[in-house]
């Protein structure tokens, strides 16, 4: 019997818990040549505003120990072109498409979501209130409990689609933000977005990326992200989509044990675009070894009792 990898996120059912993270998978179509999009649990689009955006001048990324900093600046084609040019192709490819929605104002969030509600083929809205790279990228909502509550409620009223706010880790108590989102009617939450970071070229005394500040992602942040998922899992009932430095099945399972109902993979997809089937294989292997019939049984089953003896 093959292990059952399907998971539920509220009303959505995904064939497996692996979702491509926003900004790390283009609009999905770029990856059609290396991966069958329908074989993923889902994909999240690059962040979209109403209008097109050019983003920040390059250089936009720099590597750091076990991680990378990016300040792309939400370059994107805007929601209308996305709906017209990308969505039909994504539907044809069988992708379950989550759309990462940005806004400079509460109204813009609402407007973008309305456009998406009228389109066909959107599985859910991931509300980006956490991009660290641009001042007007919603982070002012994401760093205030009231702001989080208001933008989520407003969007919920404007759309029938599931609304999944994506939380920033750059706060003192991420679980309180999860609760604010839940109170406002969020269907699930995604976490974490990137950590605000910077790197200096000491030879020139200049920044390594033009925007100076950027978001840290990759394996370096995983231990912090896992902690945040676990904190939120203990406080809220809505499903959590966990991410931050996942590189293999072990890492994905770590997030699920901590309480993630599904997971996203971002940076590692750059390192290995063929990662998806490897993680699926690794998960099935783990389930067989541990006699787990359904992957969803794992969610939140982390046992905080002391480690078993190191020596057998």
């Amino acid at each position: 019997m093959t292990p059952d990898l399907s998971v539920k996120l509220g009303a959505l059912t995904l064939p497996n818990p692996l979702i491509a993270a926003s900004g790390c998978f283009g609009y999905g179509l770029e990856y059609e040549q290396v991966v069958d999009l329908s074989s993923l649990g889902g994909i999240v689009s690059k962040g979209l505003f109403m209008k097109e955006r050019q983003g920040h001048p390059p250089p936009r990324i720099v590597e750091t120990p076990a991680g990378m900093i990016n300040a792309i600046g939400l370059q994107g084609i805007g929601v209308h072109r996305f709906v017209n040019e990308k969505l039909p192709l994504l539907r044809r490819a069988g992708a379950r498409t989550f759309v990462n929605v940005c806004g400079t104002t509460l109204d813009e969030y609402v407007e973008v979501c309305k456009v998406l509600s009228d389109a066909e083929g959107v599985a859910a809205i991931e509300l980006n209130i956490s991009c660290p790279n641009i001042k007007e990228g919603g982070i002012q909502f994401g760093c205030s409990l009231d702001g989080t509550y208001h933008v989520v409620s407003a969007v919920k009223k404007a759309t029938h689609l599931p609304v999944i706010p994506k939380l920033t880790p750059n706060v003192t108590d991420v679980a309180s933000f999860a609760r604010a989102a839940e109170d406002a009617g969020a269907d699930a939450i995604s976490l974490v977005n990137t950590f605000l970071a910077m790197a200096i070229d000491v030879e020139t005394r200049r920044p390594r990326i033009t925007n100076v500040l950027g978001g840290l992602s990759g394996p370096a942040i995983r231990p912090i992200a896992v902690r945040m998922v676990w904190e939120c899992y203990q406080l809220v009932k809505i499903p959590i989509i966990g991410m931050g430095g996942i590189t293999d099945a072990r890492d994905a399972i770590e997030f699920m044990l901590a309480g993630a109902a599904a997971v996203q993979i971002g940076t590692q997809n750059f390192v290995d675009p063929f990662i998806w089937s490897k993680v699926i294989d690794g998960m099935q292997d783990y389930m067989k070894r541990h006699n787990v019939a359904r992957i969803s049984e794992l969610v939140g089953t982390f046992d905080p009792a002391p480690p078993r003896a190191v020596h057998a």
């Binding site: 790390c24 050019q54 001048p57 390059p58 076990a66 394996p219």
Partner: protein, 283 residues
């Protein structure tokens, strides 16, 4: 259709203390490669640095029976990954994702092909030279380096009937061959001034200021150009938007375009250069 394969190192010939030619058993990549395409590389098992690195396919290698056996890279030490690649030994394994990107469009006689290479910018021209020579296109390689010791693979090009126009910054010359002191744009401009009526396609790869100068010269003398740019690339597949360059079609506004999927080869006339651009998206 790019593939990702774990390619065994067949040889790693050190050309100098900085340059080596890394030969890899990667027939699947070799068979698919067109001139100017690149691969994303990473020594297997290495997690630091995290990301892969882009490299032009240098040669497509064939075995004794003429079957494609792999590819080689012309590697120049620039930092951590390129140092690791320089130090690889036969038997080591490298992960190769590719081929990727938009290739050069070859031209045919009577149009001439003028390849302009600066330093490690030679890399994409070995395969282009093979293609041009198969097509019978008259071709010249304008090739500049800092010193004569950094002019590599000259016989490779001569054997394929490519005319050489060499320059070195220090005025040194490789034995038995003419060579001019200065930048590679000097002989190129001379050639442009006396271009035949059918004209020439100018291909360029090298440091950014050279590319800008070459594209500018080509435009000034009304010849088309194809320029291969180098940007920091996070993924090579269009996923991350790290590799953008400003590109302008006709009178449109310049757009930041991903050089991994819309390039690395661009029409030189459509690239917007630092000195002409208004700032945003300036490389």
């Amino acid at each position: 259709m790019p593939v990702d394969i774990e390619a065994t190192v067949i040889a790693n010939e050190r050309l100098s203390s900085d340059y080596s030619v890394l030969s890899l058993r990667a027939p699947e990549v070799g068979r698919r490669t067109q001139p100017g395409q690149f691969i994303m590389v990473k020594p297997v098992g290495v997690t630091d640095p995290l990301l892969r690195r882009p490299f032009s396919v240098f040669e497509v290698l064939r075995d004794a029976t003429g079957n494609i056996a792999g590819i080689s890279l012309l590697n120049k030490r620039a930092g951590r990954s390129t140092r690791k690649l320089y130090e690889l030994e036969p038997g080591d394994v490298v992960s190769c994702l590719g081929p990727l990107g938009v290739p050069f469009k070859p031209v045919q006689a009577p149009v001439e092909a003028w390849m302009v290479a600066g330093g490690v910018g030679l890399a994409p021209f070995a395969t282009l030279a093979e293609t041009l020579s198969a097509l019978g296109t008259p071709a010249t390689l304008f090739y500049g380096a800092r010193t004569a010791g950094e002019l590599f693979y000259l016989e490779f090009f001569e054997r394929r009937g490519i005319t050489l126009a060499l320059t070195t910054e220090d005025g040194g010359r490789p034995s038995g061959r003419p060579c001019v002191k200065g930048l590679v744009t000097v002989p190129l401009e001379a050639a442009l001034q006396s271009a035949g009526p059918a004209g020439a396609m100018v291909y360029a790869c090298g440091p950014e200021p050279m590319l800008e100068a070459v594209a500018g010269l080509a435009a000034r003398y009304h010849q088309p150009s194809q320029v291969s740019v180098e940007r920091v690339m996070g993924c090579g597949l269009g996923g991350c938007y790290s590799c953008v360059v400003p590109v302008k079609h006709g009178d449109e506004h310049a757009n930041l375009v991903r050089s991994c999927i819309s390039g690395p080869v661009f029409d030189g006339a459509e690239l917007v250069w630092p000195s002409t651009s208004s700032g945003q998206g300036t490389p």
